[in-house]
Structures are given as C-alpha cells and as structure tokens.
C-alpha cells in the first residue's frame, strides 16, 4: 500500500507543478510581431514607432523580438514551421531571397504603387535590390555598401599621394606598401563583399538569365591568378580570404594594412579598437570605378501575417520621416530614405564628424552596385563558388582548375531541383 501512496503523491506533485508552469492561455489579442537583426539596444526609437502605430491601430499590440545574425535564421525558420512566424522582419543581405522564392513573403508591389509619395522617397537603385521575379518584396531599412578605407600614414610612407584610380594602381600601390608585417590590400569576403574587384574587371557571375555560370573566362582566370600571386606575396593580406569580421578589422586597426575594402559599419568597429583612427590617418573613398556590393538591411512582411495592411503602415512609420531618422540615429546608419538621410548627415556632422566622409560614400555611385543577384539559390551558389575561389587565391589550386571546378558546381546547383 505504501508504494502506491508514494506513487500517487509523486504524480500529484508533478501534476501540480505542471499546472503551475503552464502559462495562462494566450489572450485573443491582435498582435503583430517584429523581429529585428541584432539591434537590441535600439529601444527608444522603436517605442516611438509603436506609439505612432498605436495612434492608428490602438487594438493591435506590437511584440518586439531581436536575434543575432548567427541565430536569426534558425529562430525564424522554426517559427515559420510552427506557424507563428514573426510578421515584420529585418533581414541582412541576401537571405530574403530564400523566403521570397518559396512564397514566404508578402509581395509589396501593390502597396508601393498605392503609396506613390512614400515610394518616391527611396533611392530607386537601392529599392531595386529587393525585387525577385518582377515583384518587390522588401523596402530598405538601413543601408550600407562597400568602400575603400586607406591608411594615410602608410600611403605617406610609401610615397603615395592619392587613392588608386584603377585596378592596376590598386595592385601597384599595395605592392609598394607591403613590407614585413605590413600588407597593402585587404577585403572582407562574406556575403559577396569582395565581388567589386571582379566586377571592375568585367567578370560576370551568371548569365543575364541567371541560369548558368558565366565566370569561367580567360580574363577571370587571369584575374584570379593575379590575385592569387598577390596573396602569396603578402601584397593582399591572406586574412582577406580566410577571415570573417574580427580578424580583418583587427588587422586594419593594428595599422598594418594599407587599403581595406569593407562596408561602412566596419568603420566604427575598427575605430573602437584603434585610437589612432582620425580623419587625418584614415581616408574613405570609393573603389576605382565606383563599384561596390551593398549589404543593406531590408524590412519585409511574412506571408503568414494576419494584418498585412497594418504591418505595411508600421513599416512606413519605420522607414520614413521621423521614424527613419530615429533608426539612423539609434543605430548609426543611413537609411534608404532620401529626406531622412539629409537630416541624418546633418546630425552626424555634428555628433560624429569623423564618420561623415564614410557615410557620404554610401550614397554615391548607386549605379555601380554589384554582387547581389536575385537568384533563389544565392546561398548555395555562394557555397559552391567561394571555397574554390579560396583554394585558388591561397595557392592550393591553380586558377584554371579552381574556376572550372566552381563552374561545374555552380551549374549543378542551378540545374538541380
């Protein structure tokens, strides 16, 4: 008897405990959830958006979520499978293509057509970045693209006056500055950020119909060969091809790299590691030809959103006027909104003047954006292409073999289901 009483007691305790732990049934309250990408500190501005939103929709509650880039897609996709996907999402780079191509995002084209005044405020070249198969899926949240930082001290030492004007000069100047620990040129490599180097040499990744690889050309082989040799010689810092974010930025912050091809956010990051960075010591300019790869954040609506019209209004608040301005101030970025950027530049001129030259580059040469292709399998193609390129650049394979292998792999990715 004693046994069963004990068992009974334990079961009762468990049930009781379970009862304590189950959260109360969710209210049948209207809710829109917003998932941002690694900006948890941005709260004041966000709350102002919510206040503004609630003026028009007092009965809809906004839920704020934020995840770091490394966890973002895991979280989002689990939520999608479970049917509770966040309604409004902030995505970096090309990840949105995966969801758009599978029908997971709301087509914003009709909304943009209806609100023409709002749409006019965006830079058309930037806005174009989120078109897939003729439909517009996202609008710019905050923008960034690559530029060329250069170490003015190292330039002076090597007797170089102005930043390079073409590809050959990049190599020559880099060679001049390479000595011992120091290297002349370095680039970031994730999210296709290095592509401007290829674009400026006329290399295309894919055919215009986006169905086949188009980079296996003699010119491309020559280019990769040149880059590979430069890397072997230390002219191009190896970290360009093996590092991700911390190493390249740290290397530039250590003052041992002459030219650093990165996107604008890198500036504040390496500046925080390097007290010697000022307007006199570090310059910001465009890559020759004005080529750059954007790495902007866009804001989009998940297909499962129950109140897409309300979500659209929220997005409008966040991306124009005062809302956009707050975002720029709160995250130290420029937005895709032309009037807001004017105000932001004034703001930064007052509060962070050293960043203004960097930020100015973000709005110039918008016709020379490259490295973003509206292909559904963007991530897979990157995976097929980059490791082979890396092999060639680090001398593990010849440029010819690497590009051929990459071509096979990329074509297979594009062909298979």
């Amino acid at each position: 008897m004693k046994n069963f009483r004990k068992i009974f007691l334990r079961v009762a305790v468990v049930l009781l405990a379970t009862g304590l732990f189950i959260p109360p049934a969710a209210h049948a309250q209207k809710k829109i959830s917003v998932l941002t990408w690694n900006i948890p500190y941005f709260t004041d501005g966000f709350n102002k958006w919510v206040a503004e939103f609630n003026k028009k929709y007092p009965d809809i509650q906004i839920e704020r979520l934020d995840k770091k880039g490394t966890e973002w897609s895991t979280f989002y996709q689990t939520q999608v499978v479970a049917g509770t996907a966040p309604d409004i999402i902030d995505i970096q780079g090309g990840l949105w293509l995966e969801y758009a191509s599978k029908g997971g995002l709301v087509d914003l084209t009709p909304y943009l057509k209806k609100d023409a005044e709002y749409t006019k405020q965006f830079y058309p070249e930037i806005l174009r970045g989120w078109v897939y198969e003729g439909k517009q899926y996202g609008v710019p949240f905050y923008i960034s693209k690559t530029l060329l930082f250069y170490n003015k001290n190292m330039f002076k030492e090597a007797g170089i006056k102005d930043p390079p004007k073409n590809f050959q000069e990049i190599l020559d100047y880099a060679r001049k500055m390479t000595k011992g620990e120091k290297s002349g040129f370095m680039t970031l490599n994730f999210d296709w950020l290095y592509w401007p180097i290829f674009a400026m040499n006329g290399v295309q990744l894919l055919t215009p119909d986006l169905k086949k690889a188009a980079f296996n050309t003699p010119e491309a082989v020559k280019l990769v060969d040149t880059l590979g040799k430069a890397t072997q010689d230390g002219v191009i810092n190896k970290i360009s091809w093996t590092g991700r974010w911390v190493e390249p930025n740290d290397a530039f912050a250590a003052g041992t790299v002459g030219m650093f091809h990165a996107h604008a956010p890198a500036f504040l990051w390496f500046k925080s590691k390097a007290p010697w960075v000022t307007e006199e010591t570090v310059g910001a300019t465009h890559l020759p030809g004005g080529w750059s790869t954007p790495n902007s954040h866009s804001i989009l609506i998940s297909k499962s959103c129950k109140y897409p019209d309300a979500a659209w209004d929220f997005i409008k608040i966040a991306t124009t006027g005062e809302g956009a301005y707050l975002l720029g101030v709160g995250t130290n970025n420029l937005t895709g909104n032309i009037p807001a950027n004017r105000r932001l530049l004034e703001y930064f001129a007052k509060t962070l003047p050293v960043a203004v030259p960097v930020l100015k580059t973000q709005l110039e040469h918008l016709d020379k954006l490259c490295g973003n292709w509206p292909v559904a399998k963007d991530a897979e193609i990157k995976e097929a292409f980059y490791p082979e390129l890396q092999n060639a650049l680090l001398g593990r394979k010849s440029a010819k073999d690497a590009l051929k292998e990459a071509e096979n792999k990329v074509n297979r990715v594009l062909q298979k289901r």
């Binding site: 008897m1 996709q77 997971g104 897979e380 593990r396």
Partner: protein, 318 residues
C-alpha cells in the same frame, strides 16, 4: 488477494504455491516498465519522434511554405554521389571520433594518479574538472586566442622556445585546423571522463588489490587484470560520452572556425545545421541526419562489442 501487497505478511509456505511466482513476476514486470516510463516518454518525445520526422522528411521534397512531394532516394543520391562536402565532413567526423580513445586513455591516467593517496588530490581533481562547466562558447573563444597567429599563447611559447620563427595561423591552416579543434574539444571533456573513471576507481573494493598483492601481482598486473575489466562499463560510457561531445563540438566550431577554412573543420553535425538553417534545405539535412544517426549507431555497436556486449555490464559474483 492480500498476498500481492504485504510481502512480510506472507507465510513461508506461500513460496510453495506456483501461482505465486506468476503473479509476482507480472508485478515485477509492471514495476520495471513503470520505472522505465518517465525516461522513455521523454526520449520518445524529444529524440525518437524527431528522428522519425527526419526520416520521413528525407524521402520528400519539402520547404516550410510548400506542399511536400515524394522524392524517393533523390537526397541520398545527391549526398553520396555528388556532394564532396558530405564526404569531407564525414571524414572529419571519423577523425574526431578516432581521437576519443586518446582522450579517454589520458583521463584514465590522470584518474589513476588522482586516486592515489597523495596530498591535495581533491585540488587536482577539481582543477582537471574545471574546464567542463565552462560554456562551450567560452571554451571556443579561449582556444581561439590560444591559437592566434600573432598574439596567441601557443605561438608565443613556441617562438620563445625557439621552435618557431614566426607564428603559425593554426586555425587558418587547412591541415592543422581540425587537430587544433580536436585538442580544444579534448581539453574540455577530459575532466568529465576523469570524474567518471575516478568514480569507478573509487568504487573498486580495495580488498581486491590487497588479495592480488598478497598473491604476488605487481602494480601493472593489478591494473590490467583487476582495474581495467572492472572499469569496462565506464570506459564504454566514456566512449559514448565522446560521441556526445562530438556533437557539443558544434559550438566550438561555430566560434572558432565556422567550419573553415573551406570545410576543413566542418563536421557532419555542423554541416547538417548549416544545410538546414542557412541554406534552408530541411529535406536534404534530414537525409544527412539519418546517415549521421546510422553512422554513430554503428560506431556504438562496434564499441559495445569491443567492451564485451551489454554495454559492458559486469556481473559481480560474490
């Protein structure tokens, strides 16, 4: 009948009743299954069902937004015949598992040493174990610094000792990266092995050794003939822990190398995760999960055989 409850109330004559054993046996079986149930429920919910989910998914084309379609063996075909990366990560995983016995042997050595009646053994034991409660993410960050080409401690020491002229970029080197990650992984888990083996060592009746010593066996014989056989179940356990630790290496790799350079430190588990969540190919990842499962199952069965079967259980006859 009342006999089912109070054991002590029964008369010795009850044993003579053949029905007694049957009822008792049923009751015993019921109790055994009852004891197993809570754990079984948890594993069914959180391991077995997910495995079946993956299994079913591996034969379909599916994405979170679209209807599923039957795919037959398409994913497996892709994996085995066209996917170089799969074979690379499989090989890396094999290498990682091959290092588990080394870690266990080292841990056994340390456990034996810590088990001797020396002063401060508790201190040693605590120090060796301290690496385990550290979050794997932190372990990754620590070792990333240790291996750093310019300012890492390892390069510093090697250069100071004159073995190297310039620092080696350990984690950026295609051949060295994986052994370096494996070393970090062993560092983290060796305390765990040691604790388990130490527990086992301390549970061995010292009289066994005394008897053997009296019989003329030396220390080596005592270790080989008494200690090791008695530790077999725990050594097998350590090996299984090694398998689980290879899954934990997931965090290490994400922090230290992200699988690079060029998949040199990518394991099956990290590859599955990337394919699922970065490339959004859950169906393909599911197929790889099945393969991963079968691989480790085979490995465990092999280890089980080597440990003498039945998870190396030892019957103590006294």
């Amino acid at each position: 009948m009342r006999n089912r409850h109070a054991f002590s109330e029964m008369s010795p004559m009850a044993f003579l009743n053949p029905d007694f054993f049957k009822r008792n046996r049923t009751r015993q079986l019921f109790l055994i299954w009852f004891f197993l149930t809570p754990s079984l429920v948890i594993f069914t919910l959180y391991r077995i069902i997910p495995l079946f989910w993956n299994g079913v998914l591996s034969f379909q084309f599916w994405s979170p937004y679209q209807e599923s379609q039957f795919a037959g063996f398409a994913h497996y075909e892709e994996m085995f015949f066209y996917d170089d990366v799969f074979w690379k990560v499989l090989w890396n995983t094999i290498l990682l598992m091959a290092s588990a016995p080394i870690g266990i042997a080292l841990a056994l050595l340390i456990a034996v040493l810590v088990n001797t009646p020396i002063r401060g053994r508790n201190v040693y034991r605590t120090i060796v174990f301290m690496s385990y409660p550290v979050m794997t993410v932190a372990v990754g960050i620590i070792w990333q610094w240790l291996y750093n080409e310019k300012v890492g401690l390892i390069n510093y020491v090697l250069i100071s000792l004159g073995i190297l002229q310039k620092g080696i970029p350990f984690l950026g080197n295609f051949t060295l990266a994986l052994p370096c990650v494996i070393l970090a992984s062993i560092w983290q888990v060796i305390g765990f092995y040691m604790i388990i083996l130490l527990g086992g060592l301390q549970n061995i009746d010292p009289s066994l050794y005394e008897v053997a010593a009296v019989d003329g066996a030396n220390a080596w014989n005592r270790f080989w003939k008494i200690t090791l056989p008695l530790l077999k179940p725990l050594i097998f356990l350590c090996f299984v822990i090694g398998i689980i630790n290879s899954f934990t290496a997931f965090d290490l790799i994400f922090v230290m190398t992200q699988g690079g350079p060029g998949h040199a430190t990518d394991l099956l588990i990290t590859r599955i995760y990337n394919v699922a969540f970065k490339l959004s190919k859950f169906d393909y990842a599911a197929a790889m999960t099945v393969v991963n499962f079968l691989f480790f199952l085979g490995l465990t069965l092999l280890a089980n055989k080597l440990a003498g079967g039945e998870a190396g259980a030892v019957e103590m006859e006294r």
